[in-house]
């Protein structure tokens, strides 16, 4: 139980994918403008990352490792992720049309979200058991959702500010993301 708590804290705060590891920046800058899309994207990523961490760990330890094909890891994982995203899209379209409509374009984009492949590689390389790999995936994506929502709050304030013309838009967003990331540096002090 203690291990799980430490694993979760580590994945959400200390090694936050976006603000500490700089992974998944494109959706971070792209969808954080509106709260609804930020939530939708975050939840879709949460689902896909958890599911794909589970499947890729199994594939790594039951198929690739016994056959000595570890070098195919990247190719295999990206294919698994792409097909899981496709599957999620089909299931949502069939059974939950409102959610499908809400996620729209963001669903297929998850395939090229670095955070998904990062969580899968991280889980398969470093996690000892299927359960901890899945929890690690879930918590990594929770950290993604947290950063997205925090930045959404910052973004709404930014829109009401006056900036010099050269700082307008992405430069101002990146600098405020840097300040947010500085706050997360505080968690590095935890010795787990």
């Amino acid at each position: 139980m203690k291990d799980l708590l430490l694993l979760s804290l580590n994945a959400i705060l200390i090694e936050n994918v976006i603000l500490v590891k700089c992974i998944g920046i494109c959706p971070f800058l792209g969808v954080a403008k509106k709260t609804s899309t930020a939530c939708g994207m975050g939840l879709a990523v949460l689902f896909v990352v958890t599911f794909s961490s589970f499947v890729t760990w199994l594939f790594q330890h039951w198929v690739l490792a016994p056959l000595g094909l570890e070098y195919l890891q990247t190719v295999a994982f990206i294919l698994i992720i792409a097909s899981l995203v496709q599957l999620t899209e089909m299931v949502l379209k069939r059974f939950m049309p409102p959610l499908y409509e809400a996620l729209g374009i963001y669903l297929p984009l998850i395939t090229t979200n670095c955070a998904v492949l990062y969580a899968a590689l991280n889980g398969a390389r470093d996690m000892g058991s299927l359960f901890s790999a899945t929890v690690n995936g879930f918590m990594t994506a929770a950290g993604f959702l947290l950063a997205l929502l925090l930045f959404n709050g910052v973004h709404q304030r930014l829109q009401q500010c006056e900036f010099p013309p050269s700082l307008k838009g992405v430069p101002a967003e990146l600098i405020s993301a840097g300040l947010l990331s500085m706050a997360f540096m505080g968690f590095q002090g935890f010795s787990l």
């Binding site: 603000l19 500490v20 590891k21 700089c22 992974i23 998944g24 920046i25 494109c26 800058l29 070098y71 195919l72 890891q73 990247t74 190719v75 990206i78 294919l79 792409a82 395939t111 090229t112 979200n113 670095c114 492949l117 990062y118 590689l121 991280n122 013309p165 050269s166 700082l167 307008k168 838009g169 992405v170 430069p171 101002a172 967003e173 990146l174 600098i175 993301a177 840097g178 300040l179 990331s181 500085m182 997360f184 540096m185």
Partner: protein, 201 residues
């Protein structure tokens, strides 16, 4: 399009990182030193050239519906080859780039060039486009790497340049510094673009 104009586009006006804001993750994460930034730039350029050539060759036979997945598999193949080569010949680069080598698969620059350029153009033109776009990416990441290494560590490619009295800005070696430095660099680019635009009128 003329090669010279293509080169100018890729480096200055249509730089994949500084103007199109593609592939930001690796730019932020790997630019702590000039040498790792350069290693990353060369790796991405090599993968980009190979996948552009391959996709330009294969695009007539790839069915339209599954093209994105096919592109990703081709890119993943070249990235795996690059990873094995780096692990074998440059172990120190491999340890400093870490998980960012396999993550080249999901680097938007490569997929964007494959989809927008290589699938519609001839093999030599695609190879050249891959080379130029890769150079644009390398230029941007090395520039940011140089900025962060000089101010954050007082060295450039490992050689001390700012003398012993210089107090390094340690924050630049970590994620917050990366975000802020890239933000300032983009602000400079916007400023220059605006000034050039005024002159052009």
């Amino acid at each position: 399009m003329k090669p010279l104009k293509q080169l100018k586009n890729a480096l200055l006006t249509q730089n994949p990182v500084l103007n199109q804001l593609l592939g930001m993750c690796s730019v932020l994460a790997v630019s702590t030193t000039v040498s790792s930034a350069f290693g990353m730039g060369v790796t991405v350029t090599a993968v980009l050239i190979c996948s552009n050539v391959f996709i330009s060759l294969l695009s007539p036979v790839i069915p339209q519906q599954v093209r994105i997945v096919s592109y990703i598999v081709i890119i993943a193949g070249f990235v795996t080859a690059a990873e094995l080569l780096i692990n074998a010949f440059f172990p120190s680069l491999a340890s400093s780039l870490g998980v960012f080598i396999p993550l080249i698969v999901v680097n938007c620059i490569i997929l964007a060039r494959d989809e927008m350029f290589a699938s519609k153009n001839s093999v030599p033109a695609s190879a050249l486009d891959g080379l130029f776009m890769g150079l644009g990416y390398t230029a941007a990441i090395v520039l940011l790497g140089a900025l962060r290494e000089v101010l954050g560590n007082g060295t450039l490619a490992g050689i001390p340049v700012l003398g012993s009295g210089f107090r390094p800005i340690l924050m630049l070696n970590f994620a917050p510094g990366a975000f802020i430095a890239l933000g300032l660099l983009l602000a400079l680019v916007q400023k220059l673009t605006a000034r050039l635009g005024q002159k052009g009128e």
